[in-house]
């Protein structure tokens, strides 16, 4: 296989009438999904989408959204979902990086999409209007004939330290490779029902949607709002007979802290795979108590290596002060630690930076050569042939079983609500405000709060308002503090430790 649509086509041939994806209001079978995607593909090609160009999606997740995303792939292009909650400035940055010729939206977001993009040189249309039309097989075949597995499949954006979002480009090859390894490692098959928590602008969605395309499993899309309403969430998991959860740690904590299991236990769940942050053992124990038969897996890895690169099957209850290992590499991925001299670290105890090579690597950051070169490079331990490697910026060590254990970040990147955030990104947004002289953002890990300290003439409320216009909600500081002066170290840099103490931050 060299194109992800071959997974869809094979499965639609094998189990045409099986439900591929459902959301609260709709359900698409595999044959319906294929037909809708081919209609959308035909429409997009006629609209001028060329191979290896972007189709942007400004909408909420749904069956129709997924069908039209696959339509972008039928047109030979790649999809990129723009979160509708992003502030205008960020949406514009993403648009500029993507250069899409078409933007697809849904009924609820159409007005806003027109406001945002009508002045741009692109077509705005609704998914409902493109998935029911005719299919031009000859046109689609011609596109497929020129396709390769290093063509981009999607672009996802993440925080970047310069203040502009980084979009990483994932090729078909990475997802094909990953989907086969992932589903066979955990035995996911046609009988499974994936409870989709991840938003579609996040590569964690791959675990649901591509497991489904490959094996014939059903995806049940859980609307975002259900994660503010535990009884609605638990009812949905039970009624839709969900078997597999590939969830962010924060979503799992939502269920356990909110007492979701005291209301109702989704007994059909047999696999729980979590990622995004370090799992607090206390919360996992609540899950283990209510669903004792389920398989629990800790997944680790940044999006740049396509979802995850290591996993650890949790076989016991962990105490509050223990860390659940990140585990060992997935098949067909090389995961290793390099020290500051680029020498490989081996043996228990020593710490190094996690580096990854293999087909899982994405193809760098869209339109950002310098950023790409900083993170993607030749494996320094291989001097004999080309072996691209990704530096994660994560520090880890091996335990006595040879399992990787996450230690910390090398830089100021943090995980907040499952999202990767460069604290420098928030500082850059603050520095862009008139009347801010110096700003420093800290993360209170114990209380999960972003705290921005600054010096300047601007008032706190005004600053906060301006930041809301520039940053996605999850990056807006929970607390802002105006200081008379910044604590500085001897060489004139902001003394983050002293500042943390001043702001009474628990790190």
């Amino acid at each position: 296989m060299y194109n992800i649509l071959q997974m869809l086509e094979a499965t639609a041939e094998r189990v045409p009438e099986k439900c591929a994806m459902a959301d609260p209001s709709t359900c698409l079978t595999f044959s319906e999904l294929r037909d809708a995607a081919q209609s959308a593909g035909t429409w997009l090609i006629r609209e001028g989408v060329r191979p290896r160009t972007a189709v942007a999606f400004y909408l909420e997740k749904s069956c129709r959204a997924w069908a039209s995303m696959l339509g972008a792939v039928y047109a030979g292009g790649f999809y990129s979902v723009i979160d509708v909650r992003q502030p205008v400035g960020r949406v514009r940055d993403m648009y500029a990086a993507l250069e899409p010729s078409v933007i697809l939206t849904d009924a609820e977001n159409a007005t806003r999409a027109h406001e945002l993009f009508d002045a741009c040189d692109c077509t705005v249309a609704m998914v409902e209007d493109v998935i029911d039309g005719e299919v031009d097989t000859a046109l689609l075949d011609a596109v497929r004939r020129q396709a390769t597995d290093i063509d981009p499949l999607y672009v996802n954006f993440t925080s970047g330290s310069t203040g502009t979002p980084k979009g990483f480009v994932a090729p078909h090859r990475s997802v094909l490779d990953w989907a086969q390894v992932f589903t066979s490692t955990f035995g996911i098959d046609e009988t499974d029902v994936m409870g989709n928590q991840a938003p579609f602008d996040f590569d964690a969605t791959n675990k649901d949607v591509y497991s489904s395309l490959l094996t014939g499993a059903t995806v049940q899309v859980i609307p975002r709002s259900y994660f503010s309403n535990p009884t609605q969430l638990m009812d949905y998991l039970c009624e839709r007979k969900v078997t597999t959860l590939c969830w962010a740690v924060s979503a799992m904590c939502f269920v356990s802290i909110m007492g979701g299991f005291d209301y109702r236990v989704p007994t059909t769940v047999r696999r729980v795979l979590f990622s995004g942050e370090v799992m607090p053992p206390k919360q996992l124990r609540v899950w283990q108590r209510h669903l004792p038969e389920a398989l629990y897996v800790n997944l680790y890895g940044p999006s740049e290596v396509t979802c995850n690169c290591t996993y650890h099957v949790v076989k016991r209850a962990y105490a509050d002060d223990e860390v659940i290992p990140a585990g060992k590499a997935f098949a067909n991925e090389r995961v290793f630690l390099l020290d500051e001299h680029d020498c490989e670290v081996s043996g228990a105890g020593a710490t190094g930076e996690v580096c990854v090579s293999g087909s899982c690597l994405v193809m760098g950051y869209l339109g950002a050569h310098d950023r790409t070169a900083k993170a993607f490079m030749q494996n320094p331990t291989n001097t004999r042939w080309l072996e691209p490697m990704y530096r994660t910026g994560d520090l880890a060590r091996y335990d006595e079983n040879g399992d990787l254990v996450y230690v910390s970040r090398k830089d100021h990147q943090i995980k907040h609500l499952g999202q990767r955030i460069e604290l420098g990104d928030i500082e850059a947004a603050a520095h862009a405000v008139d009347g801010v002289e110096r700003a420093c953002c800290l993360y209170d890990a114990a209380r999960k709060r972003l705290v921005l300290c600054y010096v300047g003439s601007v008032e706190r409320k005004e600053l906060k308002e301006l930041l809301r216009e520039r940053l996605p909600q999850y990056m807006v500081p929970n607390n802002t503090r105006k200081l008379d002066e910044m604590p500085l170290s001897k060489n004139g840099k902001i003394d983050r430790a002293a500042l943390a103490e001043l702001a009474r931050i628990r790190r």
Binding site: R85, S228, A251, M258, G259, K448, N478
Partner: protein
């Protein structure tokens, strides 16, 4: 124990500052508070007022305003 509106607003301010808690009645509906803020409120209610909010009470209606939340906390506190 009587939990006052001021107590509740003080707790909310600590979770998400710069929100007009006295006036806003769409904290959840308009996405002012997200799922993580709700988590923080449930934890804070337990820590500060010794009130456990069960899952069935975590609904938009009970969290849409400081007043509704205050009423909920007092009701749960009386039930104990």
């Amino acid at each position: 124990m009587n939990i006052t509106l001021d107590d509740v607003i003080e707790m909310l301010e600590d979770i998400q500052e710069d929100v007009d808690y006295e006036e806003c009645v769409t904290l959840i509906d308009d996405g002012v508070l997200d799922s993580f803020d709700i988590l923080a409120i449930v934890s804070a209610a337990d820590d500060e007022f010794d009130v456990t909010i069960p899952a069935k009470e975590i609904t938009p209606e009970n969290f849409n305003s400081a007043e509704a939340l205050c009423a909920l906390l007092n009701r749960l506190s009386d039930e104990d």
